[in-house]
Symmetry: C2
Subunit: 345 residues, 2 copies
DNA sequence: GTGAAAGCGCTAACAG
DNA sequence: CTGTTAGCGCTTTCAC
């Protein structure tokens, strides 16, 4: 049906191998083509509407111009931002085969099997955390498919990793609030456990002790991991209750993530608590709504876009067997000051 | 390097074709396999860690288990929502090869060429609007690759299309506001031209005339197509100026899209204009921030998720040569009432 | 400078 | 119930 190289060759009066070379214009070994042949073959190809079958080329070549990208979900805009960084970076060399594991272990497994079967040139993946799937990541390495993990590593598994620097995110949040004059700072946690949360906690503690805020700053763990909308509302109310009843007055509140800060913002609106006059509020992540002028949440920006870019960059280097380091890359966060924070008077 | 079917066959003491059938467990024609053979072959395959080479299978079979998905961008969350609907629907049958054209015609062209070369089983695309690329969509059809367009059609090009119903979006917005008692309604446009905007205008006009609001409702076209942040701010201020100076008092404002409503919200906050007490504000699209309690924008929800699902559904049906209709599908919008609208007292 | 031939790994007739 | 054979469309040695 589709026109094949063979037909082009026949029409141009050359052999398939010559046609192949003429079209691709590469001379492996040292095949030299006469300009005339090249011209003729290309014209014929053009005229016939020849399109190389990339499957066949891939089979012969073991190069597919695709990379497997596995993200956790497409719900918020967390993974989208990473994905965007990736697609931007790999274009036009590669196209992503996109998978979403949605935190379902069997799905994660299946999608990676697919990547392997499809002989992608490389893989960028956000590991789900299910240990039962670690073996499939080992499989990737066994097949020598270049692999870069994003956002989280895998225990006992040596692998390229690009993540955001959560430790410093909390650290610079405290630093910034402190520079604004705040000492009575509360870091509010929902109670969900994760390695990244632990990094936040460590960063917070480090900053607190470095700025001598041990007496005035603290972590408040509400211990109400939120899943539904109602949950988050209750969580936010609990947090606001807590800081309002606390003496001395809390002047700055750092939320574990932006979504929590949004909820807190809503509770404060409802209760007539003025932000930033009564409390300065800061989130972590800087997800899209924060930048809207009608929200204006100050936030520590996790540079997910950059995470994606770096991961893709690294992957491409590995594919091209360039020298790359082995240490995890940690992308530095940026403080975005907006309306919800102000200097302490 | 990787284990091939041939090796599995050899180890199991059968021929490749038998092994192939045993592993896939399908009997085209009427090949029947002895249970024993099947068992043995599968065991050997398992043990050797055999993974079929999907490129080879695709080449032999002309079936790749991939579909090309081309979206315009990954910036807001418009296309992400469509994408999510698609990925959900096609899993686990297909995996998307994802492309983003970013409104660059050459990129759109190139990516589609890639899809064709990769022999994807079908394509879902958001056409960029560049007429110079229409021919490449024709090419898709020439290759008989099932194609479904999303969100916008192509002029003079008969093709399956799933879009959101913009006409009714504006219509039900007016209807809803009118039910709340509003008659002095302004529909604010930025001035960017598009087919979808025209549909909104038509829907608005139809509702206005049907509800006998011709004297009180109107379209205000600011004619300041916004690209930068400053632009949108100026645009919003211009609109607020306009409705505040208007007599009789405008009581309800419908914004062309949510992003514009967010800007208007910010302007009103700054100027101390109470929403919804002074004016009810409604957006169109219902993008993610609208649902946040700290924003709470009332909006006509464009069901992009559903657009994606339907498109994918349709595509899969076409791939399976099921009977499908030919008329464009228009996905009905839903009104989401939140904090920014209230009944007129 | 160009062509012939083998092979990438799989599937699908067609025989037996 | 199973094996043989001939491709799918391309790349790449190797020989001329």
């Amino acid at each position: 049906m589709a026109v094949t190289l063979k037909e082009v060759a026949r029409m141009a009066g050359v052999s398939p191998s010559t046609a192949s070379h003429a079209i691709r214009g590469i001379h492996p070994g040292k095949r030299a083509l006469s300009a005339l042949t090249i011209k003729r073959v290309r014209e014929v190809a053009e005229q016939l509407g020849y399109r190389p079958n990339l499957l066949a080329a891939g089979l012969a070549n073991n190069k597919t111009f695709t990379i497997g990208v596995m993200v956790a979900n497409l719900r918020g805009n967390f993974h989208e931002r990473i994905l965007k960084g990736i697609t931007e970076t790999i274009y036009p060399e590669y196209t992503p085969l996109l998978s979403v594991h949605n935190n379902q272990p069997d799905r994660e497994h299946r999608e990676i099997e697919f990547f392997i079967g499809k002989h992608v040139d490389g893989i960028i993946a956000a590991y789900s955390g299910y240990q039962q799937n670690i073996h499939i990541y080992r499989e990737i390495q066994k097949y020598k498919i270049p692999l870069v993990l994003v956002d989280r590593g895998i225990e006992d598994f040596q692998c390229h990793l690009v993540k955001s620097d959560y430790y410093n995110s909390a650290y610079i949040a405290v630093e910034t609030l402190n520079k604004l004059g705040h000492r009575n700072i509360v870091f509010a946690l929902s109670g969900r456990q994760s390695e990244n949360t632990n990094m936040l906690i460590d960063g917070f503690k480090a900053a607190v002790s470095e700025k001598n805020l041990n007496e005035s700053a603290e972590i408040y763990n509400a211990d109400m991991p939120a899943s539904s909308e109602d949950d988050s509302k209750n969580l936010a109310e609990n947090i606001v209750d807590y800081i309002k009843s606390k003496k001395p007055q809390t002047t700055a509140l750092l939320a574990e993530r932006d979504w929590l800060a949004y909820e807190i913002l809503a509770v404060c609106q409802e209760r007539g608590i003025k932000i930033p006059q009564e409390i300065s509020l800061m989130g972590i992540e800087d997800s899209d709504p924060s930048a809207l002028r009608c929200v204006g949440l100050s936030s520590v920006r996790i540079e997910l876009h950059e995470v994606g870019r770096r991961a893709a960059d690294l992957l491409v280097k590995i594919i091209n067997s360039a020298e790359v380091g082995n240490e995890p890359l940690a992308v530095k966060p940026t403080v975005m000051l907006r309306r919800t924070t102000s200097p302490l008077k």
